[in-house]
Symmetry: C2
Amino acid sequence: MAVLRMADGPVVTVGHVKPSRPDFQVVGAFNAGVATLEDEVILLLRVAEMPLQPESGAVLVPMLGENDGELRLVRLSADDSNYDFSDSRVIKGYDGSYAYLTSMSHLRVARSRDGVRFVVDEQPAVFPTGEDEAWGIEDPRITQMGDQYYITYSAVSSRGVGVGLAVTRDFAAYERLGMILPPENKDAMFFPERINGKYYMLHRPVPKSIGAPEMWVAESPDLRHWGGHRYLMGLRPGHWDGGRIGGGAVPIKTDGGWLALYHGADADSRYCMGAALLDLADPARVLARSRVPILAPEADYEVNGFFGKVVFSCGAILAGDTIRMYYGAADEVMARADIPLADIWDSF
Amino acid sequence: MAVLRMADGPVVTVGHVKPSRPDFQVVGAFNAGVATLEDEVILLLRVAEMPLQPESGAVLVPMLGENDGELRLVRLSADDSNYDFSDSRVIKGYDGSYAYLTSMSHLRVARSRDGVRFVVDEQPAVFPTGEDEAWGIEDPRITQMGDQYYITYSAVSSRGVGVGLAVTRDFAAYERLGMILPPENKDAMFFPERINGKYYMLHRPVPKSIGAPEMWVAESPDLRHWGGHRYLMGLRPGHWDGGRIGGGAVPIKTDGGWLALYHGADADSRYCMGAALLDLADPARVLARSRVPILAPEADYEVNGFFGKVVFSCGAILAGDTIRMYYGAADEVMARADIPLADIWDSF
């Protein structure tokens, strides 16, 4: 593999991002959606924030209040035996259920002319709103159609994780278009053009009693309403994508098919990136799939961080015969790797 | 409560239903969708069948083959310690996952002039087809709009449980319209008319990591594609509907609001029926909810059966000021109870 990581390491780190409130600290700027607007590359970062923890022994958890929708901090005792604090991302109840997230995420714009040096906006672009986003919004994907940019993101609350939709023309004003997939679902992204007159989407349900976190395809007449759900592809037990999989970057049209970069985690929650090639005329038909990852967590900032051993792309740009893949590393920073298309074909 | 159960007990039992194959036995005829067509009441039964078990020590499990879609019987050893055979409905793996269902369900028509004495068709109406239905189709709801009857049902396979859609004009020929909600989701039914120009549906996702089996509302321009998902109502821990809830009969329009009969199970999986009253102009707004069940499993055929302590309605008919509620009892038979509307109002 001739993967080229940027020589200077991550393109955005938490130090580049101003907290949205003085009593918050930024703990992650990662899993960004990617778009191009005029002569700029836009990263729509997932910015994860935690309250500054003022007292030893107390844990403050951020969320929107159920009744008034205002941001509030819930105070837990760090030695409360009703909770399991061992996961950096989530506080679990005694029964293994998710009781709280340790951080709350919003979306923030970063811009660059050269695709490497980014300037991060001082203010959030899209902040969680309403009860279905009370625990935050995460992992956006951006699909450009004409002059509209459609943003699919994870809407997280105690009710579950669903897929929300917003749209913008300028990355300044955003319109929300509601929840397009109910819980539990994430890793959803639109194909960039109509196929056979219909819009298509990849998504990743997480069923409880039967089934696994695997990838599905859906279709729509209008991008807001979805049906025709079909199973796309599943786990490969024992392999790099044997634990969970989900769509990554918005599919890229190539002569050989739709190139869908996707993430796969193994049983140890090590997240790699791979690719699937989907039929141009029927994106529910898998033509090829990476035997080996096209990117695995190897650099220090991929192996170590808020949640280590993770590379997780939500967007990429095709430039000539190279994929410029932007990706979250270790649930903490944004990085970029340039991968020749030929190497992706070789992975099939 | 002036609930009136039919004096002669269930209106359909397994003895009324001919197996679809000579090597099958019918173990359930229950959870039927309900419609009226000309002067008949139609029950679209869920008919659950098990292979006749020819050898002691062996367990035969029915499913459609992954490659050819043909029905086949998987042979397990009853003393195989990899499996837990203790649940009559499902064979679980060592890790608690669903490995197989013990039975496979299809849909079958039963007809009646008086709404009490039913004649069951000899052949299936809708039989599982394709990989997403490889383990069966279950629990239909029927919504009539004009001369079309829309049937929403659970499509079950190793990939999960999603919501399938079919349509008929005559309960003779059926057209499938695809999966309208991906796993894990069931207990979906359409409202019988447009509201503010849009179609609405109740549905019940089962999220894995965050959230509970609770009721949501979605909207659609065309019945095939759905979006605008909104949370409707949740569990009430410690009450009759504290374990799981889901829509039951197709909502019935009343002066006071949409009357949505729904099922609730408590922590012991005792299933009762209750009601919610939803705003006529915004069905995501709950106006009232039964404090106590309107029907609880009390009759012998409700308490004892394939899976006991269950009353579970998928359809009801408003006749004057009385609800004729058809319901599956103990996952085995179909029964009917007549409930005065006044008693339902009293439950709020």
